[in-house]
């Protein structure tokens, strides 16, 4: 039998054994006495006995051998099963790194299940870039300082492998190099993902224009982003390990009103504004709780809010200026309209007086008493020209008065004090409907309204808004069909959007944006022109109640007005 690395060879076949036995028999026969017939009876009997015993002994031995062989075969099968199906690749190499044997797992890893790859150098399966790693590993192994190594190998597919080696003696010749190969691609992938995440995080951290720090429980800086260097003019490395107050305030302890100290107690975000020369910073501290729920550190952010502060100040200044201008405009509007009323009263009053005086004169003068050539002129002047002129004056005065009244209403809408509260829109609608009942009943008009959510506004304003929209719907109804108004509402976050939809005349697309303009009156046949302030006034009122109003319309089909008010 021969030994090789795979273990003892299987016993020779039965035939080979037989032939060996015959050879040995012939050798033994030669050793027997020349004359076998000279055996005495006793001798023969003894020999016979011995042979029998020998035979039985042999038979017993043979049985034992067969059992041992079966056991051996089972052990071998188990061994190969373990060896081949091991979850790691197992290779033996000679001292030069040439593959001697490999288990099935290794063959699978290297994509060599169907071809023997014994005799090939292991380096053939290592990526060129990682050959140095393997070389180093081998050197360490030779110095008995072997460690595991990780490198990329090629096989069925490229994979990350961890190699563990040991050098051991062999029965004869150079020592054997045993290597296990584990596929660690998944672990490497996970590692790479973790690294990428860390890199992304660091990048983000550094990209922030705010100074972001992590402080430990003792207010010591443990991490800081790149913005730190820009603001404090020192590299992050120099600052790590210092207390926040040393860096920010240059003091030996926390300053008064320190947001970090406050956050330690409140365990909530704390902030502080900090002036530094021309600049203003905001310090925001978010405490971090440890496993025990107690303060274990903080995220400390310093933002340069100089620009924001400037913008805020500018915004405030503009708002102030705007409200001044608005006040000026309002008072201008108010004063001019009032001042215009004074001369208007004179024009109105005196033109009326003139009209009356003309009538009086006409009564007093008998045209028949006048000379003929003057009779006609008198008749023309007193009967036609003066009344016509007065009519124009009075109509114009009337129009001016309307405009002034409208402007005054608008001006007042901006001055009325609002009482903001919860408004029950259902009740408001009912009140409006009670006032319009007669109009509705007379024309057979119908109002559909479900349960409407309430809003937060001024009750009088809400009443005005819906009154105006409903009376508009009524005014611009299509007289060929019965008016149907649908009031509905939809809650949108913090607001309610009410809609008032009608099946009236609708509007031309070109007119739709104009309805919000002051003194615009749609040219609708059969509808008396109004003052042209209804909707502008409604919009002003909606504005004052922090709301929005808009409309959709289709000529010949109807209009929908939307009113959005705070909830």
């Amino acid at each position: 039998m021969e030994n090789n690395e795979r273990g003892p060879a299987l016993p020779a076949t039965a035939r080979a054994l037989r032939s060996r036995a015959e050879t040995q028999f012939l050798e033994k026969e030669a050793e027997l006495p020349e004359n076998r017939h000279a055996l005495t009876h006793d001798q023969a009997k003894k020999l016979m006995h011995e042979l029998r015993v020998h035979q039985i002994e042999l038979e017993l031995q043979n049985e034992e051998l067969i059992t041992a062989q079966a056991q051996l075969q089972a052990a071998q099968a188990r061994y190969f099963d373990l060896y081949d199906q091991a979850p790691v690749g197992y290779l033996t190499l000679d001292a030069n790194g040439i593959i001697l044997t490999a288990n099935f797992t290794a063959a699978k890893l290297f994509g060599a299940e169907s071809r023997p790859f014994a005799g090939e150098p292991l380096t053939k399966f290592i990526l060129p870039e990682d050959q140095d790693i393997f070389y180093l590993h081998r050197r360490q192994l030779e110095k008995n300082a072997a460690k595991d190594c990780e490198l990329r190998m090629v096989g069925a597919a490229p994979f990350w492998a961890r190699l563990s080696s040991s050098m051991g003696p062999r029965a004869e010749g150079a020592p054997l190099w045993r290597i296990t190969v584990s596929d660690i691609s998944e672990a490497k992938k996970a590692q790479a993902a973790v690294k990428q995440t860390a890199r992304d995080w660091q990048k983000t951290f550094d990209a922030l224009s705010d100074v972001v720090w992590l402080l430990d429980a003792d207010s010591v800086l443990t991490r800081a982003n790149k913005a730190t260097e820009k603001v404090f003019g020192r590299p992050v490395n120099e600052l790590l390990g210092l207390h926040c107050y040393e860096i920010v305030h240059g003091t030996e302890c926390h300053i008064d009103g320190c947001p970090l100290q406050r956050a330690k107690i409140s365990m909530r975000r704390e902030t502080m504004e900090l002036k530094a020369g021309e600049k203003t910073f905001e310090v925001i501290v978010d405490p971090i709780a440890g496993k025990d729920g107690r303060f274990s550190g903080a995220v400390h952010v310093i933002s340069d809010i100089t620009e924001r502060k400037k913008i805020e100040a500018e915004k405030e200044r503009l708002i102030e200026r705007l409200s001044e201008v608005k006040k000026e405009m309002d008072s201008f509007l108010y004063i001019t309209t009032h001042d215009l009323r004074t001369p208007l009263v004179n024009i109105q009053g005196f033109s009326e007086n003139i009209a009356k005086d003309i009538r009086e004169l006409q009564e007093m003068i008998d045209p028949g008493a006048l000379p003929e050539e003057k009779r006609n002129v008198f008749g023309e002047i007193s009967g036609d020209r003066l009344p016509a002129a007065l009519k124009f004056i009075q109509e114009s005065v009337g129009r001016i008065d309307e405009v002034i009244t409208a402007m005054l209403k608008l001006s007042r809408a901006g001055k009325v004090e609002l009482h903001i509260g919860t408004v029950d829109v259902n009740a408001a609608l009912k009140e409006i409907m009670d006032n319009m009942r007669f109009q509705f009943e007379e024309t057979g008009a119908m109002l559909k309204a479900g349960a409407l959510p309430s809003c937060t506004a001024d009750a009088d304003s809400v009443n005005h808004i819906f009154s105006n929209l409903l009376s508009n719907a009524f005014k611009y109804r299509d007289k060929n069909r019965k008016l149907e108004i649908t009031v509905s509402a939809e809650i949108k976050g913090n607001t309610v959007v009410y809609s008032v939809a009608d099946n009236g005349l609708g509007m031309k697309a070109a007119d739709l944006p104009k309805i919000w303009q002051l003194f615009f009156c749609g040219d609708v046949p059969g509808v008396k022109k109004g003052e042209g302030i209804g909707l502008p006034l409604v919009r002003r009122i909606v504005d004052r109640n922090s709301g929005r109003i808009w409309a959709e319309s289709k000529e010949g089909e109807g209009s929908v007005f939307f009113v959005e008010l705070p909830r």
């Binding site: 009032h338 004074t342 005196f350 005054l408």
Partner: protein, 142 residues
């Protein structure tokens, strides 16, 4: 009724045109009561506070926007004076501002009328005050 017993109308008005229109109206409807035209609040105050007036026999038509002393201030003074406060004061203004209407009522005016003065409204106002007979009784105007 003797001329001296008739209600005296005090017209406090800075605008000549408005004053003329009001006087004209009374003339046209036949009101013959004495009409005293006072051109601003101060002149009116001097007139009513300087001498012993038969206050109850005075009816004041008062404009609001007036030079020197405005209508509100004059009304306030009248209503704060123990003797003058019985005087009937009708605001006659070109403004229909609800705030001004409210303030006038609060200060104690008898009525608030808009210019140009309409006789029907004036009649309604004085009827409420029980002055109609004294002003219009004999004339039968209205």
């Amino acid at each position: 009724m003797e001329e001296k017993d008739k209600v005296r109308i005090l017209l406090v008005e800075d605008n000549e045109g408005h004053a003329l229109l009001t006087k004209d109206l009374f003339r046209r409807v036949g009101v013959t009561n004495e009409i005293v035209h006072l051109k601003d609040g101060q002149e009116a105050w001097d007139y009513i506070s300087g001498k012993a007036l038969p206050v109850a026999g005075c009816l004041m038509l008062l404009d609001i926007r007036l030079p020197r002393l405005d209508g509100f201030e004059l009304l306030r003074r009248i209503k704060a004076d123990p003797e003058l406060k019985v005087m009937t004061v009708i605001i006659l203004t070109s403004s229909d501002d609800p705030k001004e209407m409210a303030l006038s009522a609060e200060l104690g005016c008898a009525a608030y009328l808009n210019k140009p003065l309409q006789f029907e409204k004036f009649t309604q106002a004085i009827n409420k005050q029980g002055l109609a007979v004294e002003i219009l009784g004999k004339t039968g105007a209205g």
